[in-house]
Symmetry: C2
Subunit: 406 residues, 2 copies
């Protein structure tokens, strides 16, 4: 590519970024914002318009009688597919380029059924969503997916995921790109939840914050300086397998005493069953007589109804999570920790216990300005973040160059 072309692509990218950040604006404003002469915008805008990324719809005549035309990102220039795979659930959505969710679906799954089957179901879900919207798959500009384990982001593969048997080193990114004929991007589910919160939730405008997912698995997505921090092997924030003192419960990862084994969804249900068997949780006991299954959210409901055993299980869960979260707080000194995931739906009793444990075990200085809040975008943090990740890549300088060349 000639230097001239590279400069042109640079300006095109700057235009797109400005329109994403600041919304529609006149050519004059855009030129001023970018510090270039208005005439220099003609060529890059023509290229972006031809590719469909921007348009300048005619608006009603302004007071002066002249038509006011604004350059804006064409939200329908293409679409993004977003997939959030959890240990027991699969969520998918299709968004436009302004990240409005146009359609979404959710299914219960078991991630242990392995990558081929799971990715087949994810692909079918996305195709069904596109069909619902009357869109053909060639309208997709990118696919983003979150999975419940550590990911080598560049390669788009899972790396020794403790709770995803059969997935180690599976080329998810390549598989999805092949299935949809467009670029695909894969990350750890908690990282994409953090991205979703950063885009539309409590993390908006925050330099740094931590998203803690409490679900079947437990993990933390760390945003530092506006970006996901991954660590040297991609497993930064993997707090679910930190050891909780005095526990001998076997974890799915093969170790004993992991936080996740006690305070993840199945761990909560198991402890509530034990409380019922021991006669300390009468409401849990009657619930179990009527239902085959008991989820952590059920335990939360029974606690809210006053079952003493269920209350104790939820409080203990908060203490366990809070102790590990205090380590996060002492190490990173964040000003905001956001809590999401299915188990977080249990609500205030759990949140209060978590807060209490964090404040008790953290340095006073580290908690002086610390907020611990429930996610503002759940249950959509995952799919939203997967869409953010994919769109950021599609509209990156590299992504644009690829699109405009095509």
């Amino acid at each position: 590519m000639a230097a001239h072309d590279r400069a042109a692509t640079g300006l095109q990218h700057a235009i797109i970024q400005t329109l994403r950040r600041e919304g529609p604006q006149s050519r004059a404003d855009l030129a001023r914002r970018l510090g270039v002469n208005r005439n220099n915008l003609a060529d890059p805008l023509a290229a972006l318009t031809a590719a469909g990324f921007v348009h300048e719809p005619n608006l009603a005549a302004s007071t002066g009688g002249r038509k006011a035309r604004l350059v804006e990102l064409n939200a329908r220039a293409g679409f993004i597919a977003a997939v959030d795979l959890g240990a027991t659930s699969l969520d998918a959505a299709v968004t436009d380029l302004q990240l409005h969710i146009l359609a979404e679906r959710s299914e219960p799954v078991d991630v242990a059924q392995g990558p081929t089957l799971m990715l087949e179901r994810a692909t079918q879900m996305v195709r069904a969503l596109l069909a619902d919207l009357g869109l053909t798959p060639d309208r997709l500009l990118g696919v983003g997916m979150g999975v419940p384990g550590p990911v080598d982001y560049r390669l788009g593969r899972t790396v020794s995921p403790p709770i995803m048997p059969g997935w180690n080193q599976f080329p998810i990114k390549d598989h999805l790109a092949e299935a949809f004929g467009c670029p695909a991007y894969v990350d750890n589910d908690v990282n994409i939840m953090a991205l979703g919160e950063q885009f539309a939730g409590l993390g908006r405008g925050a330099e740094s914050f931590i998203f803690v997912k409490l679900g079947t698995g437990i993990g933390a997505g760390i945003v530092l300086g506006g970006r996901i921090y991954r660590g040297s092997d991609g497993c930064a924030g993997d707090i679910g397998h930190m050891a909780v003192d005095g526990s001998d419960v076997l974890c799915r990862c093969g170790n004993v005493g992991c936080l996740e084994a006690l305070a993840g969804g199945p761990g909560i249900a198991r402890r509530a069953r034990l409380a019922a068997e021991a006669g300390r949780a009468p409401r849990v006991a009657s619930f179990l007589q009527e239902h085959d299954e008991l989820t952590s959210v059920d335990v939360g409901h029974l606690a809210a109804q006053g079952d003493p055993g269920a209350v104790e299980v939820i409080r203990e869960t908060g203490r366990l999570v809070g102790r590990v979260m205090a380590s996060l707080v002492n190490v990173l000194n964040p000003s905001l920790v956001v809590i999401g995931g299915g188990v977080a739906q249990i609500g205030d009793v759990l949140l209060a216990s978590i807060r209490e444990a964090v404040y008790r075990r953290s340095l006073p200085l580290a908690t002086r300005h610390l907020r611990i809040e429930r996610s503002a975008v759940e249950p959509r943090a995952g799919v939203l973040g997967a869409a953010v990740m994919a769109l950021d890549e599609v509209l990156s300088a590299e992504g644009l160059e690829r699109s405009l060349r095509a």
Copy 2:
């Protein structure tokens, strides 16, 4: 300042940074490296030469008979004073602009004697070092200082330091700047130790690593993406006051069960005394009959001589430190943890116990590429880092602008 001046300062700064990073080079090489025409270097080099920051000494005639002249940073253009205040020691050094330590001194102190007395002693030490070198204080371009507590870096003040009674909100930066008539910079002691290790030790070229100081106090300096990570209140990495389960030992910070209270220098000595009193540490007992004082390093020596009680105390120290360090590793997934500070001098038995505890309690993925090593620049990590911090500021774009205007 006119746009033209700003551009000139920018080029001056780029010249200085290139010379710092890559060493002496010809004007032609420098121009090539900076992507400018050689003629554009004349003015900024003249200004930098006039201010004394660079020079072009005449070298011996090269083979062609023409004199080879290289532009280089003038190491003696000025000097940096570096001070490292610990809980019980005060180290000071004077360096040139290539960060060679020209003179250094060390004194035992008690940080609890308060800021006025401590800063007076630090100032006297630096003046004495300058006098030893035949330098007047006006040759100082900057002063850097580390203190054993959280610091608001911008203001240069301590913020609620747990082990520095009387220091809260003390304007250290202003005090030093006033005393020496040059800019001063203050940070937490562990952060500057990390800078020292990054400049000349195992952290050289590392994108990210953690420096753990084991001394009277315990803390971690976190380098992410090449820079010190401070957190929202400046107390990121303050692991010394993380709670150790089952301990009821009172810490100087006022809390109970802090890591530092058990595994800091005084905690180690106290536990060894208890072992001697209980008859489990015969060599410690005879040492105490002959000496008034027992330090953690003495305990290390007695362990090396085979005292079973001393060995157990050192091993337990390693286990305690390792457990907390495992949290650091699980949260941040670093590839390198460097251990320094006075207690780290105990050596291999301690290091082996730390490693064992970290590997046992961390995720396998997080320890796959993890190195845990003793510092390569101790006992000078602190003063070296304080000098690095001050020099980085003095030679920053802002610092240069100030110097060249003066």
